[in-house]
Symmetry: C2
Subunit: 342 residues, 2 copies
């Protein structure tokens, strides 16, 4: 018989007390709780009754120790306070909690060391699996991690060797859609502010842009492309630089909404009227895309759906569920007021 434990003025019941109260054995209570073996109906009811009366909850720590599973999943995102990743976190959390798993969220800050620290931290917490939106970790690192037998799931990243763990947006198609929209509006000279070219998604978006141009029989001019870093400032800097190159353009595609926002502010400060003087398209459809003026035409990124799918993959892989999984998601164009006929 275990001694009663007093925590403050409240007593936390153990499984032994449930067994005693129900007048059954320990094994029986455990069988009822885990439903792994059949139990006489009357006995089961007595156990359930005792659980209710004692307000018993199995101690999750003890349970974790016994079956070496914590029912927790680590999540790595670049930032906790950026709306885009907020959608991701929200999707992952609600999907996993619906199955009684909890998620431990950490920020990677687009920094290799910080990301590694975060992963170490999550491992030290004995997470059952990791979901990562990593910007800095190398493919090799991720492959090693995977061989550790710690299941991982990657959002917005394709790593050779992890075919089923990667969940992505079709970025190339997104870039294509943005530029095709402008072409359809009659624009011929289209400038482009890209994301950093060491990021795969940025390269794919640019690739899509180029494909649309080629398809329309237009020869792309490298001088109409500015290489930005996804930041709002680089949107402004990019626009100034492009204009300084003295080539005409009536439309601008930005590889994300932040740069589009920066370009819009800059254009207004230059006295341009939008969208008459310049049509602008963004990418991601983040929350403030319809707060900028004019409301931003952009490419939607269903990051919540992608994130949910990555969580379902983990549920399948680690917790024996059998959800249907889709790896690649389609972007779509959201037309608002920042683009207009040429």
């Amino acid at each position: 018989m275990h001694l009663a434990t007093i925590t403050g003025c409240y007593h936390v019941p153990t499984i032994y007390e449930v067994a005693e109260k129900a007048g059954v054995s320990l094994s029986t209570v455990s069988r009822v709780l885990n439903g792994k073996a059949s139990v006489n109906k009357a006995l089961k009811e007595r156990v359930d009754q005792a659980i209710k009366e004692l307000n018993y909850r199995p101690n999750s720590v003890a349970r974790s120790l016994a079956n070496s599973r914590t029912d927790s999943v680590g999540l790595l995102v670049p930032e906790l306070n950026v709306p885009f990743y907020g959608d991701l976190m929200q999707a992952v959390e609600s999907t996993l909690r619906a199955h009684d798993k909890h998620v431990i969220m950490t920020a990677g800050r687009n920094c290799l060391e910080t990301e590694k620290d975060a992963v170490d931290f999550l491992i030290s917490r004995n997470c059952d699996a990791l979901i990562m939106y990593s910007e800095s970790l190398t493919d090799d690192y991720l492959l090693n991690l995977n061989q550790t037998k710690l299941p991982i799931s990657l959002v917005n990243r394709n790593v050779d060797g992890l075919p089923e763990a990667c969940f992505t947006l079709d970025n190339e198609k997104g870039g294509y859609l943005a530029t095709r929209h402008l072409l359809e509006l009659g624009h011929k000279n289209i400038a482009y502010i890209s994301g950093p070219n060491n990021k795969v998604d940025a390269c794919l978006r640019l690739k899509g842009h180029k494909r649309a141009l080629i398809e329309a029989g237009i020869v792309g001019n490298p001088q109409l492309i500015f290489n930005g870093d996804y930041s709002e400032e680089d949107g402004a800097i990019g626009l100034l630089e492009l204009m300084a190159r003295d080539l005409p353009f009536s439309a601008l595609v930005c590889a994300n909404d932040w740069m589009a926002s920066g370009a819009i502010s800059c254009a207004r400060e230059l006295g341009m009227s939008l969208p008459q003087d310049l049509s602008i398209v963004g990418f991601d459809d983040i929350v403030f895309a319809h707060h900028v003026f004019p409301r931003l035409t952009t490419v939607s990124n269903p990051v919540a759906d992608i994130a949910e799918m990555s969580a379902r993959y983990i549920l399948n892989k680690v917790y024996g569920q059998t959800n249907i999984v889709q790896q690649c998601f389609e972007p779509s164009l959201v037309v608002r007021e920042s683009t207009i006929n040429f």
Copy 2:
């Protein structure tokens, strides 16, 4: 001697193996790890060496079970994907992780049942403490929770009976600052769109507004106040309703930035030019406040500072730290371009 445990192809070392490798006893390793008793320097080095060579990490689950502490803190916020709460989560997470605690984040959705579920969930996870930004739980519920000996910390809420656990903004002063700013610009007729009057912060902001008017010798007209619900739509609806009342006003205070944004969009659709036709002030200084056009003059809410302080309080209370704690924070006015002289 414990048997070696094979997980996949990797072996996770235990404290016993560290002891064996270092040629010392179990107790010594534990003493080194927890630093609670002095250990011979040479021995300590041998232990550290063994830990390094084996790449040993103490199993946090076993440790939790043994000392009934999980080193985890539950966090309840209204939404995981709203920038304002993102700042809060970010502050709490980084403060706690710096001390090797992890946080489990849950969303309350401004719904009593959801908030209770979230709290139950966090309790079932054996959190050492709870930090809450609760919108729906009653004071009584919170007081009960606290008596459970589960330490709690409240952000943006004052509960009688929990004098030291509450961390808030001086909302009344914020409301006062917003309106005084407009008065100083020469406005006499100032409309106000309030937050829901069952929320204390909303009431306090309104109270501050009224105090500023009185101080300026202006008799407030109840007809110039619209009772909103903090949503963007209610900002638009509020403006329309106020204008329909056919009383002149040259300035508008909104009790948060969302409603200010709604009012701005609405005003523009009505063909008003801002800020010439109407000066608008918001509240909270959320991330997109400088993305709206004109850039929003608003009252800053240092939610990250407040959240960090609530985390420090928990560090003190539960983990024996001794940070200095401040309970109430001052708002400040951020003047941008949405307000202009009358």
